[in-house]
């Protein structure tokens, strides 16, 4: 891609993202559309988030117990699982699952609406496609990804508990007491801010890619693939940057 085209695309993306965010507080509001999107993004993703986060928590706990038992430090499983899941793995894994299911769905749905002239129809009817299509998706991501992350973190901790107690034969009471100890304001904030940023990034990128679809089935495949790839890359990069900033702001020493 030429530099001019890339800059033009970036400009369009920033404009769409900004208008999408601004649309949340500006009339008209399409509550029904937002509710439909929230149902799709939230309730629809619950099972897959549950399964993925459960096994991530279990795998993490298993790895830790294998490593820590050789050092005689298995009692720290709860603490390390808790910090890893609350601050890092919970938000990131849930965001990746959200991208795969909801983000890809957004891009392909909007892409097929573009190709099927449904977006043109919306414009002809006098609606703003950003307000009607993008804002409800951003709103649903901003609300449902943090909610799913909370559920995902809880399920991961449960998975970690199962391995710690029934495989590593640690005390369940001690596991939960370790988890309670790490649930400080700093740790919770370090993990709680991320899903809002990830949700905004995923929805903006996927809506932009979907609405930029051109060229039939091949174009739809390309825009959906790009939407997922770009979202994943941006989640990983922004996770690092956010972690760096949040550790500094919340007073952790590195």
């Amino acid at each position: 891609m030429d530099i001019k085209g890339l800059l033009s695309d970036l400009q369009d993306f920033y404009a769409l993202s900004f208008r999408g965010l601004l649309g949340i507080v500006r009339r008209p509001f399409y509550f029904k559309d937002a509710m439909i999107q929230m149902d799709y993004a939230g309730a629809g993703s619950l099972v897959i988030v549950f399964i993925v986060d459960l096994f991530v928590g279990m795998a993490l706990s298993l790895q830790l117990s294998a490593e820590l038992s050789s050092l005689g430090m298995k009692m720290y499983i709860g603490m390390i699982v808790g910090i890893s899941v609350v601050r890092e793995l919970g938000p990131v894994v849930t965001a990746l699952v959200f991208t795969g299911r909801v983000g890809a769905g957004m891009a392909s749905e909007l892409g097929s609406m573009v190709l099927g002239h449904q977006v043109d129809t919306i414009r002809v009817f006098g609606f703003d496609p950003v307000k009607k299509l993008v804002v409800p998706r951003i709103v649903s991501s901003l609300i449902m990804l943090p909610a799913l992350t909370v559920i995902g973190v809880a399920v991961s901790l449960l998975g970690g508990y199962y391995i710690a107690v029934f495989v590593s034969h640690q005390s369940g009471t001690f596991y939960w007491s370790s988890i309670r100890n790490i649930l400080t304001m700093e740790n919770v904030l370090a993990g709680a801010i991320k899903p809002f940023i990830f949700g905004y990034l995923i929805s903006s990128i996927c809506c932009y890619m979907g609405l930029s679809t051109k060229g039939g089935a091949v174009g739809l495949r390309q825009s959906t693939t790009m939407a997922v790839v770009m979202s994943i890359v941006m989640i990983i990069i922004s996770d690092f940057l956010l972690t760096r900033v949040l550790l500094y702001v919340l007073g952790f020493s590195v």
């Binding site: 002239h117 043109d120 129809t121 414009r123 002809v124 006098g126 609606f127």
Partner: protein
């Protein structure tokens, strides 16, 4: 009156329209003909301001819409009723909700009033029985009829725009759509119908425009179209099994 004043448009490096000059009255029944990729649909999209010309101006009733914002274009678009290729119905909504889409947004009608209005419009295009079906359950002909019904929901437009309304339909359904197009124009409202099927165009239109290489190769009546010497047009005319205009 719709006026194209030296309009040029290209998709990337592919030039579609080159300095086109064209005037169409709201009462005219116009068919825009041409091969695939010759810019037929582009003309409709330019009229609605969905795309901006690279050069030239598009005037609707003397009003230059070229530089208008989406907000400013709303009034312009309300003058037209467009049926996109393959209907462009919203997949996630049933027929009733598709037709009621604008009614819910722009009117304060009660649920009963909306239901009655939707049934009335669907009845006028002959698909009232499909009111609770989803778009994927409709046949091609029903799809177009519902799309026409949806475009009529908010009221009477000044002009209809049809993008390939009979493409992909069997001859009986295509003929029915032609009849519907003719019926909707009986009160003097005109239309622009984009099609590559000359036989369908001859059934409904009075004026024929043939696009080739970004320019108007032909602009005239059916007699002129059928007797032109232009080889590009002759290929189109000769390829069809012309049955004669039978819808009016």
């Amino acid at each position: 009156m719709i006026v194209f004043d030296g309009v040029s448009f290209s998709y990337g490096s592919r030039s579609v329209l080159r300095g086109v000059h064209l005037s169409v009255g709201f009462h005219e029944r116009v068919a825009v003909l041409g091969g695939s990729g010759e810019g037929k649909t582009t003309i409709l999209r330019l009229i609605l301001g969905l795309i901006k010309p690279d050069e030239g101006r598009v005037l609707i009733e003397g009003d230059d819409i070229t530089g208008k914002s989406e907000e400013g274009l709303r009034d312009v678009r309300m003058k037209f009723s467009i049926v996109f290729q393959e209907g462009a119905l919203f997949d996630s909504l049933d027929v009733k909700e598709n037709v009621a889409y604008c009614l819910r947004e722009y009117t304060s009608m009660s649920e009963e009033e909306i239901d009655a209005r939707v049934r009335e419009i669907l009845g006028s295009v002959g698909v009232e029985q499909a009111i609770h079906l989803m778009p994927e359950e409709l046949s091609g002909g029903m799809h177009r009829r519902v799309s026409i019904a949806r475009s009529l929901a908010l009221g009477t437009p000044k002009m209809f725009l049809y993008d390939e309304p009979t493409t992909g339909l069997d001859p009986v359904n295509a003929d029915n759509i032609c009849r519907l197009i003719s019926d909707l124009s009986k009160d003097g409202r005109g239309f622009i119908m984009v099609t590559h099927k000359v036989s369908d165009a001859l059934k409904v239109a009075d004026r024929f425009i043939f696009l080739k290489d970004g320019s108007l190769l032909f602009d005239g009546d059916s007699r002129g179209l059928l007797h032109t010497d232009a080889p590009e047009i002759r290929m189109f005319v000769e390829e069809i099994n012309y049955q004669g205009p039978g819808c009016r």
